[in-house]
């Protein structure tokens, strides 16, 4: 409990919350690193200076394991476990980079891009954009299929917007509302392709129980949830009620 909040650092995202626990030593790409028991492989990698790409994870939230960008290889194990939900074990040997991993990660990002506003792929500065850049993904091979690009932007809250077209349904906002704020205003509504982020009983944000703490906006990796004050023109909301 203690370390979870107190060991957070500005400008550093370890991917999963820091833990208290006895020392566990493992290797990440051959580099030996010691972290408290209960830590994730993702956190150990970040500590070893080999931060793994991630989208649905943040060190302010419990791990969730839904985006599959953080896959790694563990010696002696089959498959490609998600590093955010895999706990460290003594003597574990982890590989964070390989051609196979790079291909898998690119595949995931291309899928996300196929349902993301094309004109906003260049010029962005969100975590999602940074991940695209890091993995060298700029486009996707898919044609125009079923997508969420026509969903209207929810502008009801005076301070922030929600644009479903940019949402990758990573659930970070929902978990922030539950775990950090404790209001439980957000849910994932529907299943599969239909699933989407909903406030209250699928209401506009302003009409829901949302208390505008900003935790969801703060954690959203894609800027689907974003402050109106960062815009000029159409989406900018004059925050002060001016004369």
């Amino acid at each position: 409990m203690w370390a979870e909040l107190r060991d957070l650092r500005d400008g550093v995202d370890l991917g999963t919350p820091p833990r208290d626990g006895s020392d566990v030593t493992l290797t990440i790409d051959g580099v030996s690193v010691t972290v408290p028991a209960g830590s994730s492989v993702m956190l150990a990698a970040a500590r070893a200076g080999h931060a793994i790409p991630k989208l649905c994870a943040s060190d302010t939230l419990e791990p969730f394991g839904s985006c599959r960008v953080c896959l790694v290889e563990v010696e002696g194990r089959k498959g490609y476990p998600a590093s955010c939900t895999t706990l460290v074990e003594p003597g574990m040997a982890v590989r964070t980079e390989s051609e196979k991993l790079a291909a898998l990660r690119r595949g995931v990002m291309e899928l996300y891009l196929s349902d993301f506003p094309a004109e906003d792929i260049p010029g962005g500065w969100s975590e999602f954009h940074e991940t695209l850049q890091r993995l060298g993904v700029t486009s996707h091979p898919y044609g125009t299929g079923e997508n969420h690009q026509a969903s209207p932007v929810d502008q009801s809250n005076p301070y922030f917007l929600f644009d479903p077209a940019k949402c990758i349904v990573c659930s970070r906002c929902i978990r922030a509302c539950e775990e950090i704020q404790g209001t439980f205003a957000l849910t994932i509504d529907g299943r599969g392709f239909e699933s989407k982020v909903a406030a209250g009983q699928d209401q506009p944000f302003f009409d829901s129980e949302c208390v505008s703490c900003g935790a969801c906006v703060q954690t959203c990796p894609t800027q689907a949830l974003v402050e109106k004050s960062l815009f000029e023109g159409e989406y900018r909301h004059a925050q002060s009620i001016e004369a």
Partner: protein, 714 residues
């Protein structure tokens, strides 16, 4: 939706809206603040925030901000824009004229919990060293003065014993007269996190607040007492602890004054505080009192958090002492997860308390009557100082009515709106010959002021705030002061104009001076805060980076022991009767800040367009009221109009309102009763009657109101 524009610069600073003291990164673009990002390394918020700190910052740039000094000869004349020299010369000349006519003690100063520590310290210096008297007070007078008094008496220091994170080690959390999820949201979230992990919650509050029940968080015991019965209920908890021998004898023997404990046991152990006697009087089931006492005493770690629902009573100080007594008796002090912790309303209530804006103590809670202490200040300031306590804020107004008090310097306060018994205050303000107000906006008080000095917001200045967990946080200048000067610079200029040679190159030098003169702040400096971010006092050679938990080995009293006060229940003189059968109590909500001067000027008003009177359905029915009806609320002191809101949050016999909008004039009805020890007003109990207003005349009233509201926000 296009990509948003990236901010260019960011400055780490501290939110001024409440006593949690969240750290933020203020981001700017082209010289304008475009976003406030909660700072992950903020020790109170760990990257979290609430609507106020996160979004309600644009008031700083509001067109209503006064940007030029204003003066006038009399309050019936219009304001005249002047330059700084003219305004300051006028203020200084008037103050000196009043003092030479009516005596040294005929003027005084008031500072605010919105000010930085440095400003609060300087305003006390202005009163003591330049005015030459101890007529200095601050707005903590009307909220948390009983905390300072009651906790000093029992545990030695008038401050929270813990750091906020300590609650994550608590097994039982007792919240008394506070509603953290609305009033202190980021701390409220931390508390809920702990409750979801299994901690038990006891709530003592007349209202079924959001704290009592919300998603995945529910109180194990709620004592919905009738307002005004805190001391009775808390003594009754003590009764159960004493009679059922739930107290921690070894802790009391080792750490406390045993004789005083025995006296206390005699008082609360007597039959008149049995739950079966107190329960019916206070409107609470006796079994619930017993359950709360057993839960609290059982711990193993039990922590008390309390707010204005304890302090703003005629027995406010006694109520705080009760909390001190309870925690000492059960040994719930001196480690993580326990303690007694006031939740402070405004950003710097704790700083206001620490830094000598009281008529009886200097910074560091040391008495002006103590010759040694006074000597150290005289030496530093180079002038002889008054050896006697000055007037408290309410007494300044009282003395204005008898002609003994004629001039006042007010920084960042709006007493006409925020202080009780409005008619009395207005009358007192009219008697004064020179009122100098330093603030961001013209307000209710400026109607009675002669000089207006345009101040700076917390986004426009350097300094420190002390949060409710005793944490000294840095406030940094994000944008240039709109009217040209940081508030502390204006005070220095006023001191100079009055002939006192104060000089500081930057706010850090004021912190250095106050650190020299306040033992608990001894080790603090801008350099230290730059290095470690923030520090909780006491911060000195024994604790160079501050102290998280107080009282771990001894209590800061002469013999090092905690002690017990005899806390007899004395019912307030404010009683219900046939004419005034309902009890009015007051509170606050999430999106608005205090009297709302700032939040009302942001989009936060969308959440709280007006103050409403919550009334139980039974009481409403008896008066033929429906939800949304306009009603008059009448007390022995005055009347105001509000719209009714039928609510199950309050029991029959109790009505509740907030006081965020000037138009509500909630303080037109509150009484002139106050705490016996500190004169903290009794906001939490007023006997009233509520009646429906005829629709037709009300419509006109409503329109007038709307105009007023528009005026207030435009």
């Amino acid at each position: 939706m296009p990509n948003p524009l990236k901010p260019e610069r960011s400055v780490v600073t501290t939110c001024a809206y409440c006593g949690v003291g969240c750290g933020f990164k203020a981001e700017t673009r082209a010289g304008r603040i475009v976003r406030m990002i909660p700072w992950k390394e903020g020790k109170a918020n760990h990257g979290h925030s609430c609507i106020k700190g996160r979004f309600a910052y644009d008031y700083y740039n509001h067109p209503d901000r006064v940007r030029t000094p204003l003066i006038r000869r009399s309050i019936d004349e219009p304001w005249q824009e002047v330059d700084w020299d003219t305004a300051l010369n006028h203020a200084a000349a008037e103050f000196r004229r009043i003092q030479s006519t009516y005596g040294t003690k005929s003027i005084g100063a008031v500072s605010s919990s919105r000010c930085t520590n440095e400003e609060i310290f300087l305003v006390q210096k202005l009163a003591r060293a330049v005015f030459g008297n101890n007529n200095i007070d601050n707005c903590a007078r009307i909220c948390h003065s009983p905390t300072q008094f009651g906790l000093s008496a029992t545990v030695g220091w008038g401050a929270a014993s813990q750091h906020f994170d300590s609650i994550l080690q608590a097994d039982v959390i007792m919240v008394v007269g506070a509603n953290p999820t609305e009033g202190h949201p980021v701390f409220g979230s931390l508390m809920k996190r702990r409750i979801r992990q299994g901690a038990k919650l006891i709530v003592i509050d007349p209202r079924r607040t959001e704290t009592v029940k919300s998603a995945h968080c529910e109180a194990t015991v709620h004592l919905p007492l009738r307002p005004g019965n805190n001391v009775a209920i808390l003594n009754s908890l003590g009764h159960v602890i004493v009679r059922e021998r739930l107290y921690n004898e070894s802790f009391v023997r080792e750490r406390c004054e045993w004789n005083e404990f025995e006296l206390w046991m005699g008082l609360v152990g007597s039959d008149r505080y049995a739950p079966e006697v107190i329960g019916p009087v206070a409107g609470v089931a006796p079994e619930a009192i017993r359950a709360a006492a057993r839960l609290y005493a059982g711990g193993p770690n039990s922590a008390i958090y309390y707010g204005l629902g304890v302090t703003e009573h005629s027995q406010g100080s006694t109520g705080v002492m009760c909390l001190g007594n309870l925690s000492l008796s059960c040994g719930m002090l001196g480690r993580e997860g326990v303690g007694v912790n006031p939740l402070r309303g405004q950003g710097n209530v704790q700083g206001g308390s620490c830094l000598g804006s009281w008529p009886h103590v200097f910074s560091g809670y040391r008495f002006v009557t103590d010759p040694e202490v006074r000597g150290s200040f005289e030496q530093e300031w180079g002038v002889p100082l008054d050896a006697e306590p000055g007037l408290r804020l309410p007494n300044m107004f009282d003395a204005a009515l008898t002609g003994h008090f004629r001039g006042m310097y007010i920084m960042g306060e709006d007493p006409v709106q925020s202080d009780p018994n409005r008619h009395h205050i207005v009358e007192a303000m009219r008697q004064m010959e020179c009122v100098v107000l330093q603030d961001l906006f013209l307000n209710e008080t400026s109607n009675y002021a002669h000089v207006f000095l345009p101040g700076s917001s917390s986004l426009e200045k350097e300094g420190t705030f002390t949060s409710a967990e005793r944490r000294v946080n840095r406030v940094r200048k994000v944008v240039e002061p709109l009217a040209g000067y940081q508030d502390w610079e204006i005070v220095v200029r006023l001191m100079n104009t009055m002939g006192y040679p104060a000089q500081y190159a930057h706010a850090g030098e004021i912190l250095d001076e106050l650190a020299r003169l306040s033992p608990a702040y001894k080790g603090l400096s801008f350099a230290l805060l730059e290095r470690i971010g923030s520090a909780q006092w006491p911060c000195d050679e024994n604790a160079p980076e501050g102290t998280e938990v107080l009282h771990t080995k001894t209590f800061p009293r002469a013999n090092g022991r905690g002690t017990f006060m005899l806390t007899e229940f004395v019912p307030t003189a404010e009683r219900t009767n046939d004419r005034f059968p309902l009890l009015l109590t007051t509170g606050r909500i999430l999106s608005q800040y205090n009297v709302g001067t700032q939040t009302r000027r942001t989009a936060n008003s969308r959440w709280h367009p007006e103050d409403r009177l919550e009334i139980n359905a039974a009481d409403a029915q008896a008066r033929g009221l429906r939800d949304g009806d306009w009603v008059t609320v009448t007390s022995r002191f005055g009347q105001t109009r509000l719209r009714a809101k039928l609510s199950t949050r309050v029991n029959p016999g109790i009505v509740y309102t907030t006081f965020h909008h000037a138009t509500s004039k909630a303080n037109a009805v509150t009484s002139d009763l106050s705490d016996w020890a500190t004169n903290c007003p009794e906001y939490k109990v007023t006997a009233v009657e509520v009646a429906r207003v005829d629709a037709a005349p009300m419509r006109a009233q409503a329109e007038a109101r709307e105009d007023e509201v528009v005026e207030a926000v435009s």
